[in-house]
């Protein structure tokens, strides 16, 4: 598989040999009914979530203490993706939907194909390196948007060309539906995640209660990624009164080019500011197509990789609950995210169990695989009160 890299003109991502997984994409049309709109928003939820494991993998494979600027750039992007996911869940709840997170169909296999794009770009779980950063550039690229789908009986045959176009289509659908149905955003308010549960983490969440707040959410999602049109900055200054911050695409570009943007730089100029030294070797090398099944049964690495996925399943349940009427569950989700960070770090620090690959410097990795069995086990664990409550009960 080869992809022509828009940056260098070279062909890239040639290391991916397996077929790419595809997340379910709605047909290329403007959603005209409320159930259709909910379907589009659920797809948007999956799209936001799709980006998080690759970015986390790039971040956590940086060796301890190295490349701090790149580490914080990745962290800032990941936090904003989490914010986007939360805002999409708010939109979905506002229009009476029920976000689905704890479902094996929600979680894609990797490498996945970049959705809402014509090109076959593999989104893989890559260790920190130029290819990982280029993956981010592909996902976040600001593109001249093609036309929205034409209205007709059948879906427009031309198909999706960009994520920006997908969100613009949702925006258009919401706008038209809201005209016909004044009660479109009458969803249960208690299901909304507000700033009290999500703040100072890539921005703050806000409840979606009407068309205006829904449009603000879409604007934020598009512009934190691609930038305010014609600019390298995201809209945080305007929306939250915060300091000017680079949009994701330009953060990745800084790392890729090892140079910061200066105050007068534009998307066209590229970064011309101070140097941003990156040590591309200070990262664990991993297999971007690793699966748990690659590791010998009962080996320590296998057990650690399986354990990681079980905790990952627990996180999915906590997020599912947070978006389905219990926003306070986000407080329980955060320690689980930190637990995943520590478990992943242990895997990356461990040489690959296959001696031949270990000899080439390849390390083990977290695979972010989810099966129905793992989800059921995680749910059982949560229902029996994993953590403090069970221990306290045992004291009595």
């Amino acid at each position: 598989m080869t992809v022509r890299d828009p940056l260098t003109g070279l062909t890239g991502f040639t290391d991916i040999k397996t077929p790419l997984a595809e997340i379910e994409q709605p047909p290329f049309e403007i959603p005209r009914t409320v159930p259709k709109l909910r379907y589009f928003l659920q797809a948007a939820l999956a799209l936001e979530f799709l980006t998080i494991p690759p970015y986390l993998t790039a971040m956590y494979t940086i060796k301890p203490g190295a490349n701090q600027e790149a580490w914080y750039a990745l962290r800032a992007v990941v936090l904003e993706e989490m914010l986007h996911m939360t805002l999409v869940a708010n939109m979905l709840n506002a229009v009476g939907g029920k976000p689905v997170v704890a479902d094996p169909r929600f979680v894609t296999d990797y490498p996945a194909k970049l959705p809402y794009a014509k090109e076959q770009v593999p989104i893989a779980l890559r260790g920190f390196g130029r290819e990982a950063i280029r993956t981010g550039l592909w996902i976040e690229r600001p593109e001249k948007m093609e036309d929205l789908p034409r209205t007709g009986k059948e879906p427009d045959p031309r198909g999706w060309t960009s994520i920006g176009q997908f969100y613009a289509t949702i925006r258009e659908g919401m706008r038209r539906l809201a005209e016909k149905q004044p009660d479109l955003f009458d969803g249960d308010l208690t299901r909304q995640v507000g700033p009290e549960d999500f703040y100072n983490s890539g921005g703050r969440a806000f409840p979606v209660t009407d068309l205006a707040s829904a449009l603000k959410a879409i604007e934020l999602i598009s512009e934190q990624g691609e930038g305010v049109p014609g600019s390298i900055y995201n809209p945080d200054e305007r929306l939250f009164g915060q300091a000017n911050e680079l949009a994701h695409y330009f953060r990745f570009m800084e790392v890729h080019e090892e140079r910061r943007y200066g105050p007068l730089d534009t998307p066209a100029s590229g970064p011309t500011g101070p140097a941003l030294p990156i040590d591309w070797t200070a990262a664990y090398r991993i297999d971007p197509q690793a699966k748990v099944a690659d590791y010998p049964p009962d080996s320590e690495v296998r057990l650690a990789a399986e354990h990681f996925n079980q905790v990952y399943a627990r996180l999915l349940w906590l997020l599912d609950r947070s978006f389905n009427g219990e926003p306070k569950q986000l407080q329980a989700a955060i320690p689980v995210m930190l637990e995943l960070r520590d478990l992943a770090a242990q895997l990356y620090a461990n040489p690959h169990p296959d001696p031949a690959r270990a000899a080439k410097g390849v390390h083990a990795s977290a695979t972010f695989e989810i099966t129905q069995a793992e989800l059921l086990a995680a749910k059982k664990q949560l229902d029996t009160g994993a953590g403090a409550t069970a221990l306290l009960a045992s004291l009595a």
């Binding site: 203490g65 701090q68 914080y72 800032a76 936090l79 904003e80 507000g194 700033p195 009290e196 549960d197 703040y199 100072n200 983490s201 890539g202 921005g203 703050r204 945080d236 915060q242 300091a243 911050e245 407080q331 955060i334 320690p335 930190l338 403090a388 221990l391 306290l392 004291l395 009595a396």
Partner: protein, 639 residues
Amino acid sequence: MSPARDLDGHRYDVIVVGAGWAGSLVAKRLGSQGWRVLVLEAGTTTLDTWPGHLDAMNTFYSSLIKVPNAPYRANTAAPSPSVLDTVPHKGVHRYQSVGYLVQEGPLPYGTDYLRAGGGTGMHWLGLTPRMLPQDFKVRTEFGYGRDWPIGYDDLQHWYCEAEREIGVAGDAAEQTREIGLPFPEGYVFPMHEIPSSYVDRVMAEHLDGKTVVDPGTDEPVELRVVNTPHGRNSTPNQAYDGGRGFRPQDAVGLPNYGERCVGNASCTPICPVQAKYNPLKTQAQWSRKVTLIDRAVVSRVLVADNGRVTGVEYQAYDDPATPVATTRTVEADVVVVAAHAIESARLLLASELANSSDQVGRNLMDHPVMLAWGLMPHQVGPFRGPGSTSAFERFRMGESRKEHAPWRLVIANWGWTWAAGSPGSDVAEMLGIPETPFQQRKKALYGVPLRERLGDRIGRQIAFQFELEQDAQPGNRVTIDRRHRDALGNCRPILSYDLSDHVKKGMQAAMGVSHQIFDLLGAEERTAYQADAPSYFEYEGTGYAFNGAGHGCGTHVMGDDRRTSVVDQWQRSWDHANLYLVGCGSMPSIGTSNPSLTMSALALRSVERIHQDLTELHRPLVLRPAPAPEYAHPTEARP
């Protein structure tokens, strides 16, 4: 070249000495009122950038002993004391002070502070309990220490303002119910309480509703675990401020960061995620009217013949490793000294100012902390959450204060870290590493058995911090002597410190209570005070040792009589009408509350007065028609 050298002869409305907690608050409020404020900081200000924060984190991670000043770099031009400076000694005293502080008293003052932008507030634990109404009149009510010229009611509004600036998380209703604290009608804190730790819940399970006997009074005291208010991000309370809610301040140097506390448990000395308030968060809100100049050590406050201060003399240096400075002066209508209780007193003594009462430097107080530790029979999960989230509060109040010093019985959530240097000391012990290099190494554990033993031991560690009120004693004091100087030639603080019998009786009673609590818990008590510990002393046949809490107070004491106090109720010098001494040094008594919140309330209250003083100074002359002249205009011919 340091910009501090450029200011020579400039004039401001206000000079604030010290970019720490109190100074940052004063500068924020006065700056937002439009006054031109110059803040002079003796140390450096790298901590307000993200790389500076990361450097402090890395210095902390790599330091062998995680003391409060461990993350912060040394500065030879503006040195800071360290708790490691107090070492055992065989001589007149059991201790010797080998660092910046000169110590001559019977017992060591075991507390440090930090001279850098943000000040000692960079390594506070993050607890914000209010003082009790009865704490303000200990002399009248209980016969010890000094009374305040103002009371709880005078501070009520300012406590609320301070809680807004810090972003306090807590449960006001519980504070009223369990401690009897009055709040304004319907008041809630800016954020909901920090969840009580698992250790707290175990304690509550075993102890809530049980009683222990105070051996000092033979009175029963009921135990109840009460959540402590924190200066730490939790969940903003939507009901705050009449339903307007509260928005937590970002981290300093990195936007979109500084989320809720995630339980790193290293609050002292540094919060990695900046969930904990620190004064740099206030500095980030300064208006453009505020100028911060670092590496400027104020050496003297200047005074005119009429008794009004005119400005300050300071030493500008460039390199913290090269103690070479040039002396400059700068002028202002009002000078606010907010340099930490010990440093402010030192500066006043060096300036020979504000001391007609002979109280400058006296009444030095801290909260002596007696530690008690033990092992629970089961896992209690320490190190999850902040260093402490709850306490037993009933020992702070009541008639027993006539017999002995009261204390706040703080439940530690970091195992034996403070008591015995865990977990490092546990690892060393299990590796068989002897206490001195002259002993032979014992049998060591490795691998899985080591991990299991460590997990078992550390997971069962509990500790209590008995934080006692110290009464104001004129003999506990800061002095200076020309023979003891720092590298820039400034006089170093000389401390003379001791505990009164009132405090020692408090420790005696606290130890009795501690034994009863370990019994009720079914825990194995491991408390042991070593006779060679620097702070070891014996009282009525029993040995005790204590630690400092970092709560230096009392050195420019507030009162209602200029003959016996240094400042009035506005923290304004009795001797110099435009000199304010702002900080814990003004407090005549400190109760059993960590003092930062009360200090903030006092500072904000003083700002109102400073604003009034400045407004009066700047009131324009009112031009009225001149009264009919008795003689003709000068241009006309006089008779």
